[in-house]
């Protein structure tokens, strides 16, 4: 963490601002020039995040602010930290009766603010560790292809017998968010058939960059096309590479039936082992979903791709509906990413139709 030379005292800044407001008619400025656009607010979280944003806009790369404990209560401190994290890297140091917040890397973070907040956190994390901005690795029976647009290049190597991408890299002079997106995109591309890459890599990228704690700002259907302009370039580059691959090889793909399926290690487990793993995951993490003991029971894991569960009768139907989807996300995170969660099948109540079912 970068430290700043000067620590601003929040109380004093507010006091100076208000005094200045009282005596200045024209040419009003806050006490500190680097906080030119800052206006204090009664809500300390808003006020402090505006203050850091003002420093960012003035070109500062870091700022430290001392905030008295009386200003900010415990709950608000957590909220403040979260807010400030969207502006830079946050560090806190306790002092007697106060906390000093240091927010660093403000300029680097500013470039990510052009992207919707729901993608910023993962893009920033990715940007800190780019892994695919390097030379393309090409072996025998692989075709290297390269496409450039808007000063960014995406390249991939394809194993021509299976039409599978064996490596993908990028290069360019774009700003942080695009470089981070292309890096994440390359990771998704490696191992995909070219047809799957053209068809679905971009929706996988959009989905992978979402911060699950945030609500998506798109009210209706979320598509890469409406989610953020960030996704246009990777999509266009992948389309161009795909078309180049068709031209180079004469490959004419039929329908795309690619599905990664459950991981081999998961599929190799016995149903009982899978059941034990899922049960353990629910026991360990079910509380996150508000699940109490006995409210959900794993009924079977006979198929490698499926988990059948039973909800306790005490749960209302609406809760069961939401929980079923949330449970699926939980077991995908902790057991296997292709697992599907089902409830127990309900048999037809119609006697007439049930007779027919027996015949079938």
């Amino acid at each position: 963490m970068t430290t700043t030379e000067k620590i601003f005292d929040y109380d004093k800044l507010v006091e100076a601002y208000n005094t200045n407001l009282d005596v200045t008619l024209r040419g009003f400025r806050p006490a500190e020039e680097m906080l030119d656009t800052w206006v204090p607010d009664d809500d300390p979280v808003r006020s402090l995040s505006n203050l850091v944003e003002a420093a960012q806009l003035c070109g500062s790369d870091s700022i430290s602010v001392r905030v008295a404990n009386k200003i900010i209560e415990h709950q608000a401190a957590a909220l403040l930290k979260e807010k400030l994290a969207s502006l830079g890297e946050v560090g806190c140091r306790a002092e007697p009766g106060a906390v000093v917040f240091t927010i660093a890397h403000l300029q680097e973070t500013a470039s990510f603010r052009s992207v919707r907040p729901i993608y910023q956190q993962r893009l920033r994390a990715r940007f800190a560790n780019l892994r695919f901005k390097r030379e393309l690795r090409v072996r025998e029976n692989q075709i290297p292809l390269r496409a450039t647009e808007e000063h960014c290049t995406l390249a991939w190597a394809v194993q021509t017998d299976a039409h599978v991408i064996t490596d993908a890299v990028f290069d360019g002079t774009a700003r942080g968010p695009m470089l981070a997106a292309l890096d994440a995109f390359c990771e998704i591309l490696v191992g995909l058939p070219v047809l799957e890459a053209r068809d679905h890599a971009i929706i996988r990228l959009e989905f992978s960059l979402r911060d699950p704690r945030q609500r998506h700002p798109i009210a209706g259907i979320v598509l890469p096309q409406n989610a953020d302009p960030l996704f246009r370039l990777p999509s266009s580059l992948a389309n161009r590479l795909f078309n180049d691959y068709l031209t180079s090889t004469g490959y004419r793909p039929a329908a795309n039936f690619f599905d990664p399926g459950p991981r081999a290690a998961w599929a190799a487990l016995s149903p009982a082992q899978r059941e034990a793993r899922v049960t353990a995951a629910l026991a360990a993490h079910g509380a996150v979903l508000g699940l109490k003991n006995g409210e959900v029971q794993v009924v079977d894991c006979n198929h490698a791709y499926a988990v059948t569960v039973r909800f306790g009768d005490q749960l209302p139907i609406s809760a069961k509906r939401s929980l079923a989807l949330a449970l699926e996300r939980l077991v995908r995170e902790h057991c296997d990413p292709r697992l599907e969660v089902f409830c127990e099948e309900k048999k037809d109540l119609s006697k007439l139709r049930r007779q027919i079912e027996k015949v079938n």
Partner: protein, 371 residues
């Protein structure tokens, strides 16, 4: 091909004529469905062997007069264009059937019905036909004995249904009603002997059309549909189509039959345009997901909550977005050839930028409210 035939799209989608709603969807707006396919009850007085409803059981609630009235008002308010009473039960045996047709029509909605037509007697047809855009009779045989075998009823039922259809066509002609009256054969390969008798029967009854379609099955193949068996029926199906004339259209849904139960796409984008509601009141994106097994897809129930509230809820859009995300794969997680299939194909190509959506030129087809 005659003008009459061109007007009815029986094997395709009309989504391109709803360009404004597709554009709004692309912008991420919360669009209302164009069409809702629903039933007024889960119950049925028939026991058809191909019945998908066997696989759709869910917690039942009762759609009464108040529930359906609120629902239809909501539909009209939010911009739904058509409601078809088809789905997973025989809506004509619901006590609210006639009222629902009349009220929906009065609200400006296009109303349609798929039925076995057994209880649609002359007097009932007199009450509902003026309010319907189309009425489709599910009939998978043209001869009484086979009808009884395939549809799980007594032979007498066949004669009653045929009489009812005759009344319908008479009323339509007498009152010059705009309603389209058609027949639909759900074809399993083992019903091949009934293709031509039914094509002839349709012509004799002077209905507007006979549509011959594939049978849907779930992802486990529980109904045992032999999709490869359809390819042997090609000649018979072409012969059936030759019964078409200037006022009778016999159409085979080739696109679905030839797909052999497969899908070219993995995401389901069609549900927010064409939503389904079970006869239990359950709102789900697709009828194939009605069973309790698929609770994760269940959005709400119109017997518990107004449809407008359900449609506006985050839960609705959470499920719709799940279907459009990499979390979902329709090729693996769905039954075969669903109601949204053709809409899905079109929208998938649109999202993949394989086609550009343009409102088609020329005269609009009939039944535009049913995509």
């Amino acid at each position: 091909m005659t003008e009459h035939v061109e007007k009815l799209i029986l094997d395709g989608t009309k989504i391109a004529w709803h360009e404004d709603r597709v554009r709004a969807w692309e912008r991420g707006e919360r669009i209302a469905p164009i069409t809702i396919d629903m039933a007024l009850t889960r119950a049925c007085n028939f026991g058809c062997h191909y019945c998908y409803a066997m696989l759709q059981e869910n917690d039942r609630s009762f759609i009464d007069k108040q529930v359906i009235s609120r629902f239809l008002n909501d539909c009209a308010e939010i911009g739904v264009k058509g409601v078809s009473f088809v789905s997973d039960g025989e809506s004509t045996i619901s006590p609210v059937f006639v009222q629902s047709c009349q009220q929906g029509s009065a609200l400006g909605l296009s109303i349609a019905c798929g039925t076995n037509a057994y209880v649609l007697t002359r007097s009932k047809s007199e009450e509902v036909l003026p309010h319907l855009t189309y009425l489709r009779v599910n009939i998978s045989a043209g001869e009484p004995k086979r009808y009884a075998e395939i549809m799980g009823v007594k032979e007498e039922y066949f004669h009653r249904v045929i009489e009812n259809i005759r009344h319908m066509t008479e009323i339509k002609r007498r009152d010059r009603l705009g309603v389209t009256i058609g027949l639909q054969m759900v074809l399993m390969p083992q019903y091949a002997d009934q293709i031509i008798p039914l094509a002839r029967l349709g012509k004799e009854l002077r209905v507007d059309y006979l549509a011959i379609k594939h049978c849907s099955d779930n992802e486990n193949g529980d109904l045992g549909v032999d999709y490869r068996g359809y390819s042997r029926l090609s000649d018979l199906l072409h012969e059936a189509e030759s019964y078409s004339d200037s006022s009778y259209q016999c159409t085979v849904k080739w696109s679905k039959i030839q797909a052999q139960g497969t899908r070219s796409y993995q995401r389901c984008y069609g549900a927010p345009f064409l939503l389904q509601i079970s006869g239990s009141g359950l709102v789900a994106p697709c009828g194939m997901l009605f069973n309790e097994k698929y609770k994760k897809f269940h959005i709400g129930n119109i017997c518990e909550q107004s449809f407008k509230d359900i449609w506006q809820s985050d839960r609705y859009w959470e499920v719709i977005n799940y279907l459009a995300s990499p979390e979902f794969n329709a090729q693996k997680m769905c039954g075969s050839l669903c109601l949204q299939h053709r809409v899905n194909e079109t929208l998938d190509n649109l999202v993949k930028e394989k086609l550009e959506l343009q409102r088609p030129q020329g005269k609009e087809p009939e039944h535009l409210a049913f995509v």
